[in-house]
């Protein structure tokens, strides 16, 4: 079946949302309008079993570290990637508040947590214990790196599978 799905990239500024998307798709548009509009849109098709799913990626922009999204941009999303920067502890806190905000605005949606910048092992601010603790929230978590491509394709694949299950 041919399907189209909207997914959002969420997370504090600088965690690597745009880099992950850039790694995943070959972007053709200038990223200039991104700052004006607060969102950048890309697309990529993934094949999951007999489904060909075209993902419309809404890369939402945060504001000065404190992430404030236009709720309107979340509307109609089938799922989202919640990105955390392993080298900045506060981005984990932001992730919690974003998660709450999304549930309040559009309800429960399939999502996947990415612990990004996994290549910067020296600079980790989030400990393994804290990550183990995250298990209690029933989050699906992947470590990723937009720099060396670790788990980038996989992240979108896993999320798409989750979304197809949710139909």
């Amino acid at each position: 079946m041919l399907l189209q799905k909207k997914i959002c990239m969420l997370g504090a500024t600088g965690v690597g949302k745009t880099s992950l998307v850039r790694r995943f798709v070959q972007s053709i548009y200038s990223e200039k309008y991104h700052t004006t509009l607060g969102v950048k849109i890309d697309k990529k098709t993934v094949n999951i079993e007999e489904n060909e799913v075209t993902l419309l990626l809404w890369d939402l922009q945060g504001e000065d570290g404190t992430f404030k999204i236009r709720p309107a941009f979340l509307r109609g999303a089938s799922g989202y990637l919640l990105v955390i920067d392993l080298t900045r502890h506060e981005t984990l806190v932001t992730a919690f508040s974003i998660q709450k905000m999304v549930e309040r605005e559009v309800g429960k949606l399939p999502f996947l947590v990415l612990l990004n910048k996994n290549d910067l092992t020296e600079d980790f601010e989030i400990t393994d214990e804290e990550i183990v603790d995250l298990a209690q929230y029933d989050w699906k978590i992947l470590r990723s790196s937009a720099k060396d491509g670790e788990n980038v394709e996989e992240a979108f694949q896993v999320l798409t599978k989750e979304m197809l299950k949710a139909i």
Partner: protein, 449 residues
């Protein structure tokens, strides 16, 4: 009964007018007591900012409802605040205002430029035509600038692309375009249009259904119509009349009506909406020439086209007839020329062809072309050599080949080549030999005088 007492006392104060010191001091005492209460109340308010904070909004509200005094009183303060804010860091205010002002400015500039360019072009085009004259009169009568009248009268536009978008997700449901080539990024454009909608909606933050109706980028504009679950976006080149909106609204209403359930339960299967394509295609309209007030039916695009065709036929006909006569004259001439036999001719649009036999003694047909108005390049000639046996040609040929001395003359009578005058013997001998072998000569006869 304190109130009774007070009443009585007051009455007495007023009647006796301070002539009773006892009453006076009593009054003073009461007043003082009330004042003290009130004052302490007021003092309390003044020392507690939270309470001022509570009172102020309603005070402002009431004041602004009844008159403008408060607004006037606070205006200088507000102005000063803004001035200081701008002085300290203009970026803050600029950023705050940008979402409102930015698009408005861009829109205004684009519109002004668009109008200017179009009116300029059309002014140049129309100022000399009868239509232009009529519009000049109209401009003079209405007091509007000529350019504006021209623009009102000629709206040229073309709807190039139609997007049918699922409102909630921004996903492209169906797409139609003038040129059959698919826009492979139509789905991203669709998502972006939705994002822009959301952005504008948030930025202006007006009512729930405050929406963006049009975007303009140079001579392209995007018109947007909404139904409860879908958006129809039309990309238009040029200036379309507002009546076109009706077409779009009808289209989106039809889609909404026909696909009510599918739109409501949309899960990303865009294929469902394929049958809606004809509805979109109907929106791909265009208009050339005059639009709006159909004042003169003579100048409809159709009539213009038909008129051009007729003119083309008349002009074409003229050239056709002229050329026909020229060509037949040329062929007649060739026919009448000795030593030329035309075997085949062909009349083309730009180039004619003629084929035949030509004696080398005959006139060169190509040198005749100019007489009939042709260039050698206009006519493709294919002449095969042959020997014309008419006496004239036989004689000519004999003269050329035998090359008699000036003292000898050649003539031809019934196939007999006759030589008169004198020549050397050796010439006679050679000439006799050659002449015998020549076509059209049966005998070689020497007449000596």
């Amino acid at each position: 009964m304190p109130s009774g007492t007070l009443q009585k006392e007051t009455a007495e104060v007023s009647s006796e007018n301070g002539e009773n010191p006892q009453f006076y001091s009593k009054t003073e005492e009461i007043l003082e007591k009330t004042n003290a209460d009130a004052l302490s109340e007021i003092r309390k308010i003044l020392v507690q900012p939270e309470e001022v904070g509570e009172v102020l909004p309603s005070a402002f509200q009431k004041s602004s409802k009844s008159d403008k005094k408060l607004a006037e009183a606070t205006l200088p303060i507000v102005e000063e605040n803004i001035r200081q804010s701008v002085q300290r860091d203009p970026k803050i205010l600029a950023e705050a205002l940008f979402p409102v002002i930015g698009p408005a400015i861009r829109k205004a500039i684009a519109e002004a430029l668009g109008a200017m360019v179009q009116s300029l072009n059309q002014t140049l085009e129309q100022s000399v035509s009868p239509k232009g004259l009529r519009w000049r009169i109209e401009a003079w009568q209405t007091g509007k600038p000529f350019g504006e009248i021209v623009m009102l009268n000629t709206l040229l536009y073309r709807v190039e692309q139609i997007f049918l978008i699922h409102k909630k997700t921004g996903i492209l449901l169906q797409y139609a375009a003038l040129d059959s080539e698919e826009n492979k990024d139509a789905d991203m454009v669709s998502a972006m249009l939705t994002a822009i909608q959301d952005f504008v909606h948030d930025s202006f933050n007006e009512s729930e259904d405050a929406t963006l109706d049009a975007l303009r980028v140079r001579d392209l504009s995007v018109w947007v119509e909404h139904s409860p679950d879908a958006i129809l976006a039309a990309v238009i080149r040029g200036n379309a009349p507002l009546t076109l909106r009706k077409t779009f609204i009808e289209a989106i209403e039809r889609v909404q009506f026909q696909y009510e359930n599918e739109l409501d339960n949309f899960r990303g299967e865009t294929k469902t909406f394929e049958p809606s394509k004809p509805i979109l295609q109907e929106c791909l309209q265009m208009q050339v020439g005059e639009e709006g007030k159909p004042k003169s039916k003579i100048f409809t695009p159709f009539n213009f086209l038909a008129g051009s065709l007729v003119l083309l036929f008349i002009i074409g006909g003229f050239f056709f007839v002229r050329d026909y006569r020229r060509w037949s004259n040329y062929l007649e001439r060739l026919d009448s020329e000795p030593g030329i036999v035309v075997t085949e001719t062909k009349r083309g649009f730009f180039r004619h062809e003629v084929e035949g036999l030509r004696d080398e003694m005959a006139v060169n047909p190509e040198t005749l072309l100019a007489e009939y108005g042709y260039e050698p390049s206009n006519v493709k000639s294919n002449w095969k050599g042959y020997q014309d046996l008419s006496p004239q040609f036989v004689l000519e040929r004999a003269k050329k080949i035998l090359n008699p001395p000036p003292t000898a003359q050649l003539s031809l009578e019934d196939g007999v080549l006759i030589v008169r005058g004198t020549a050397e013997n050796s010439w006679y001998l050679e000439a006799r030999n050659i002449a015998k072998g020549m076509a059209g000569i049966s005998k070689f006869k020497v007449v000596r005088e």
